[in-house]
């Protein structure tokens, strides 16, 4: 077992974990932060995307021990009293149906807009290549990211 100290959604945690424990299982099973789901185990679908020190990572491909000392933001910590502009844009543009990919898609979109505050539609599609959605055909996800960009998400 290895001790790690991680800040998740603004709360400091210290835990003993198996070195092989995945970050996503640490979030879900140890901390009970089930807002971040698992979709594929092979880092293809992106449903488990979170921000680690502000940068999007697929938490099924990160060991909990690798997050030692890091600041992790999940979908549960994104809103600050009111919905984050990307969350609001996903709602307003109907960019989700079943909602399973949505936490990862929103986190990836947030990172995309941090990197490129005014993306073209093509840049949005390319930027979200690592996140799969089976319901929407991505049409409204592109619209939502465009709307969030117009609303000005950049920090």
């Amino acid at each position: 077992m290895t001790q790690i100290k991680v800040t998740v959604d603004g709360v400091k945690y210290a835990d003993e974990v198996e070195p092989r424990l995945l970050l996503v299982h640490y979030l879900r099973e140890v901390l009970g932060k089930t807002g971040t789901p698992v979709g594929c185990d092979t880092s293809n679908c992106g449903a488990c995307t979170v921000l680690m020190d502000g940068v999007s990572v697929k938490s099924c491909s990160v060991l909990a021990v690798q997050a030692d000392g890091c600041d992790v933001t999940t979908i549960e910590g994104l809103a600050n009293g009111e919905l984050h502009p990307v969350q609001r844009a996903f709602h307003e543009e109907h960019a989700l149906q079943c909602g399973y990919c949505t936490p990862g898609m929103i986190m990836a979109a947030t990172d995309l807009l941090r990197d490129n505050p005014h993306p073209t539609d093509e840049e949005i599609r390319d930027g979200l290549e690592g996140n799969l959605c089976r319901c929407t055909g991505y049409e409204n996800i592109v619209r939502a990211v465009r709307r969030a960009a117009q609303a000005g998400v950049a920090p």
Partner: protein, 795 residues
């Protein structure tokens, strides 16, 4: 449109933002895998590495020595209680339905079939212990090709043989049509095997308390599952509660009674603790039922002027190793759709269901209708080429004209409504059909290495499953009704209980809109409950684009009953005769005296108090209704796809995609547009990207999302969607929409690719139309019977 104060604009037709979203965008969801119960254990399965083998020995003792392992079982341990997974659709009297034990006992028949289970304290310990189970297999020859499987000397999947059933249908003089017609074409198409890939993996939790079991499952069908657990596994129905919490997509894949659900229930009972199982994506690709997988032979007979005389279809449908819930019935849902929107004199259909040593197939978005629509729309293009006609003109010459509805097709279905001319005209205009045809001709004339193709799909489909009598006549094991309850709360708020079980479709929002209009209560005051058999005890669940066309109508009928009850009480409150009251916008008023009125909320409170109800009137407005439609729902539309096909690389780029759908009256245009987007995307995925592939030994090689290509955002085009509205014959005028896009889009894309390459001699490309397949199709046609690309490109 200006709304007056007296008549608020109806909720139906408004693009209401979804009530479902608040929890979904903030991670406050309740997926099955999120559930934690005190003492809950985790299950992991050992699965067959062989496509076909005898099991001679299973030894789970090694697993029991591992830390944290509570129990381990093999198939023999469940033999007395596990029974057989149900098949609810015995399509013919002599169909072969082999026993299908949830856990294999003495023989495995596909890679991934469960052979043993470990129950441990956590999922890591359970997964570790799986490696300590010993199994001795005696490999048997796999059966992988449907055509070879029917040969007399083929190895057998089951002792009874590899043919499960043969189902036939015919109407009109088919022999005469094919004998007398001057033009007869035959084509053979391959519907590849697809893997549904809902984003949420399957997950199940089972908990026994005394003799009662609660099952949480990522299912589309909590009610059917409850019935099945009782009818087939001996648990008294009143002791079974099934809960479908938030469910992350289904597309038919969660329309199933699965081995893992049954084994979770049985294993939990054995260990006396709640157990959970959540699949990995690899387990999902291996063991969630697959879709499609047919060989289609289609023949069409026509006059020289293009009039269709007859159609004949002969299918081989891969059942996989067993018949699951509706496996054999899926091709039948297509049987009635090959004639599509076209008039003809005669039609014959034959389907042979074939066993192979692969994962069983079953319903996947569209279920039978995408396959049929593909074949008819592909051969219409081929017929147009043969006749030298413009393909849209050929379609128009044969389709049912708008003034001919209701129209009874050669299959005996009565299409209640439709206007193919209107949808097509709108689609052609949006698409710039004539402009693109001109560009195509120019590119062809100059021998452009990037060709332009135009693909047409003028589709219809039958959905809204369905009239119970019709389902019965097709030997389906259940009815097709849907249930709804309205509960008027004392404060005037409304609880709506629906038997349909949404998993992304937006029922909470759309159902609120329907009830708001019927009862005249605010959209915000309505709460929709579903997905728990204790909350919603009656239902037929969600599949086959049935929720609105069946469940939506059940809501209307339940609201009718509320209004009837409320009227009696309103009359007493207003000291008027009930006959003198009219109900509008949530208020009962006395005819001719609009000031004398009571709102439905006031009546709800008065009913709760029950101080002054008329004699014999019960103090409740709550009402139930069960609606059984008298016909299917027939959405239709015209989809047009323009592709640019690079003849040097085989790469296909969708340049323009137009979808004009007629789904009748639209409750929420935002949700409907979303359904079309997602449906079209899934159909494009079949055309271009996805295929479940088994190797020569029967191993599935597409076990991850790296191998099975669910398209990502850059792989799909932006879509142009529009609607025409021909109201259906039900009271809301609504039709189903969930599958229409998937049914329409696959042939539109492939027709477009073939249209682009026809000048090069290409007559077909097998799906998925990968760059390699397109390139090879060009190569094999090269110089054979077509124009050779002038700028080379294919050297």
């Amino acid at each position: 449109m200006t709304a007056t104060a007296e008549a608020p604009s109806p909720e139906i037709g408004q693009a209401r933002l979804r009530k479902e979203d608040a929890k979904l965008v903030t991670g406050q969801t309740n997926w099955t895998d999120n559930i934690k119960l005190n003492g809950m254990l985790q299950m992991a399965f050992l699965r067959s590495p062989y496509a076909h083998a005898k099991i001679s020995r299973v030894d789970v003792s090694g697993a029991l020595d591992q830390p944290g392992v509570i129990a381990a079982y093999c198939g023999a341990d469940f033999a007395a209680e596990q029974g057989s997974l149900p098949c609810a659709w015995p399509v013919t009297p002599d169909i072969i339905i082999p026993p299908h034990p949830p856990m294999a006992v003495d023989e495995v028949r596909y890679v991934g079939q469960a052979v043993a289970v470990v129950i441990a304290r956590d999922r890591y310990a359970a997964a570790d212990a799986i490696a300590s189970i010993d199994v001795d297999y005696e490999p048997l020859p796999p059966v992988l090709d449907m055509r070879a499987a029917l040969a007399a000397d083929s190895p057998k999947v089951h002792d009874a043989g590899n043919k499960s059933y043969e189902w036939v249908f015919a109407n009109g003089d088919v022999d005469a049509a094919f004998r007398d017609a001057p033009v007869v074409l035959e084509r053979n198409y391959r519907q590849q095997r697809l893997i549904p890939c809902a984003m949420e993996p399957r997950s199940v939790v089972a908990q026994w308390i005394s003799d009662e079991v609660t099952v949480w499952s990522a299912t589309q069908i909590p009610h059917v599952l409850r019935f099945a657990l009782s009818a087939f596994f001996g648990i008294p129905e009143q002791n079974v509660r099934v809960i479908a919490p938030d469910v992350g997509g289904g597309f038919g894949s969660k329309l199933q009674v699965t081995a893992e659900e049954v084994l979770a229930v049985l294993a939990s009972r054995k260990v006396g603790k709640p157990v959970k199982w959540t699949e990995s994506r690899t387990e999902g690709n291996l063991t969630v039922h697959h879709g499609r997988d047919q060989w289609q032979q289609i023949k069409i007979a026509a006059d020289r002027d293009g009039r269709i005389r007859g159609l004949s279809v002969d299918l081989l449908a891969d059942m996989g190793a067993y018949l699951m819930l509706v496996t054999p019935g899926v091709p039948l849902l297509g049987a009635f759709m090959f004639p599509a929107i076209y008039k003809m004199d005669a039609y014959s259909f034959k389907c042979t269901g074939v066993f192979t040593t692969k994962m069983p197939t079953d319903a996947y978005r569209g279920a039978g209708r995408p396959e049929a629509t593909f074949a008819i729309e592909r051969i219409m293009d081929e017929l147009a080429t043969e006749l030298g006609m413009e393909p849209m003109e050929l379609r128009e010459r044969n389709w049912i004209k708008h003034e001919e509805f209701p129209y009874t097709t050669i299959c005996g279905l009565t299409y209640d409504s439709g206007n193919y001319e209107a949808a097509t005209a709108k689609a052609k205009e949006l698409f710039d059909y004539d402009g693109l045809r001109r560009e195509q001709a120019e590119r062809n004339a100059r021998g452009d290495t990037v060709r332009l193709g135009i693909g047409i799909s003028t589709f219809t489909e039958m959905c809204g499953l369905a009239p119970s009598r019709v389902l019965g006549s097709l030997s389906y094991g259940a009815g097709g009704w849907e249930h709804a309850s309205i509960r008027m709360l004392p404060t005037g708020k409304v609880e709506v209980v629906t038997g349909s079980s949404a998993h992304g479709q937006g029922h909470e929002t759309a159902w609120s809109q329907i009830v708001a209009d019927q009862l005249g209560v605010p959209f915000e005051d309505i709460r929709v409950l579903h997905g728990d058999t204790q909350v919603s005890p009656k239902g037929m669940d969600t599949y086959g684009s049935r929720s609105l066309a069946v469940g939506g109508l059940a809501l209307v009928q339940a609201c009718d009953k509320v209004i009837v009850k409320a009227k009696v009480i309103a009359a007493a409150m207003l000291e008027a005769s009930a006959d003198d009251l009219e109900f509008s916008a949530g208020r009962f008023s006395v005819r001719g005296d609009p000031e004398a009125a009571r709102s439905i909320q006031e009546i709800a409170l008065a009913t709760f108090a029950a101080h002054a109800l008329p004699d014999g009137v019960e103090p409740s407005l709550d009402s139930d209704a069960t609606y059984d439609p008298d016909n299917f729902s027939f959405p239709h539309g015209t989809h047009l796809c323009a592709t640019e096909v690079d003849t040097e690389t085989g790469f296909v780029k969708i340049r323009t995609y137009v979808a004009v759908d007629d789904v009748g009256v639209v409750v929420n245009p935002m949700i409907v547009e979303g359904q079309v987007h997602g449906g079209v995307a899934q159909g494009i995925a079949q055309a271009l990207y996805e295929e479940g592939v088994y190797d020569d030994d029967g191993n599935l090689v597409t076990t991850t999302l790296a191998d099975y290509l669910v398209p990502a955002a850059p792989d799909l085009p932006s879509l142009l969607t529009e609607r025409t509205t021909t109201p259906a014959s039900n009271r809301l005028g609504v039709k189903g929409v969930g599958e229409a896009g998937t049914i329409a889009s696959t042939p539109a894309v492939v027709n477009s690719i073939v249209d682009a390459l026809r000048p090069l001699g290409v007559r077909d490309v097998t799906m998925p139309c990968t760059p390699e397949r397109v390139w090879r199709a060009i190569q094999s046609a090269h110089g054979a019977n077509g124009e050779v690309s002038q700028s080379g490109g294919t050297a």
